[in-house]
Symmetry: C2
């Protein structure tokens, strides 16, 4: 059970993973996703094609790697249970977006997002990852929120609204603030019942 070794070996592994992904996104963005083979990515990263598959189960995952889930789930779990579902979820989404766009990874985030929007295969998988995120949100909401079906519907609707904000953000080339766009999309869908703006 290698779980308490954040150093040394795992470090190299994480680095090659980052290297491979960085080269992949760069090549996909310049040459196009379909025109770039996994072998091309491997060669650019200086590894063998097999190594790419050991780190990323599919070619699509080279773009779709995502730690967004944990970020959102913990915020949903921490929200006060008294408010309506869409408020709790919406707030968690806005705050998570705030965190993600703070760091210096903004450009990389945009490049990945552009790929996910323009490439059909990636767009489909991206939407499917939202579906997984939806399950995580429902789990984080807890059991006493009425029928699970209702929580599913609320979470799905919130995520769909966020998705339109993501697309808008990419179209803006990241010039606008993502949290604001998400807030606007939520308001457009649910009205002002989604709760007031962050302090």
């Amino acid at each position: 059970m290698p779980d308490q070794q954040p150093t040394l070996r795992a470090q190299r592994r994480a680095e090659t993973q980052r290297t491979i992904q960085a080269h992949a996104v760069r090549l996909f963005s310049t040459r196009g996703y379909d025109a770039t083979t996994v072998a091309d990515v491997a060669e650019a990263a200086g590894v063998s094609p097999m190594t790419v598959y050991r780190h990323f189960p599919t070619k699509e995952d080279l773009v779709l790697v995502d730690q967004h889930r944990e970020l959102v789930a913990e915020r949903v779990a921490a929200s006060s249970a008294g408010q309506p579902l869409v408020s709790r979820i919406g707030r968690a989404l806005v705050e998570s977006a705030d965190v993600l766009t703070e760091g210096g990874a903004r450009t990389f985030l945009l490049a990945r997002l552009r790929l996910m929007i323009s490439t059909p295969a990636l767009r489909a998988r991206h939407l499917d990852s939202h579906y997984a995120l939806q399950q995580a949100i429902v789990d984080a909401l807890g059991a006493e929120t009425g029928p699970a079906f209702h929580a599913q519907a609320a979470a799905a609707a919130c995520l769909a609204a966020m998705h339109t904000a993501l697309i808008r953000w990419a179209e803006d080339d990241g010039r606008s603030e993502l949290p604001d766009l998400i807030e606007e999309a939520l308001t457009a869908a649910f009205g002002n019942g989604g709760g007031p703006r962050l302090p």
Copy 2:
């Protein structure tokens, strides 16, 4: 421009298309999607693998063929422009589901839906088709509905709610009424602002 010939040649084409799809869904449901090759489908349908690809661009499209789009779009376009967006869209979705589940294709619809839910690749493509449906809805809403971004968010949220209803319906094995489930999902997401039940 062969556009005015609803007879003869196109008839045979439509029939082979139906035959291929029927055999495909049957084989996928029994043997599993991944365990069934396109060659298997072709052999079962009595055609060559090439012919399958002529009628369906990808293996996934063997399950995902869908005329739902036109059905929903025309109902959205016919809705009265005075109501809130989510009401207009939600009503159109409920009515379209009513039409689709009326016919005798209910069993076939369920089989396809089960495949789309259980198979990752199909689930992703299914969600992507909802994205295309979303664009059609926004177009059908007309131009005077405020920022297009708001219409996108409202349509995306409505479709996501409907999707949870579809999953619930499949889990029920189609015993409940799909339009009712969609109505319930919309209410869970948007409250009662979505408008009253159909007359």
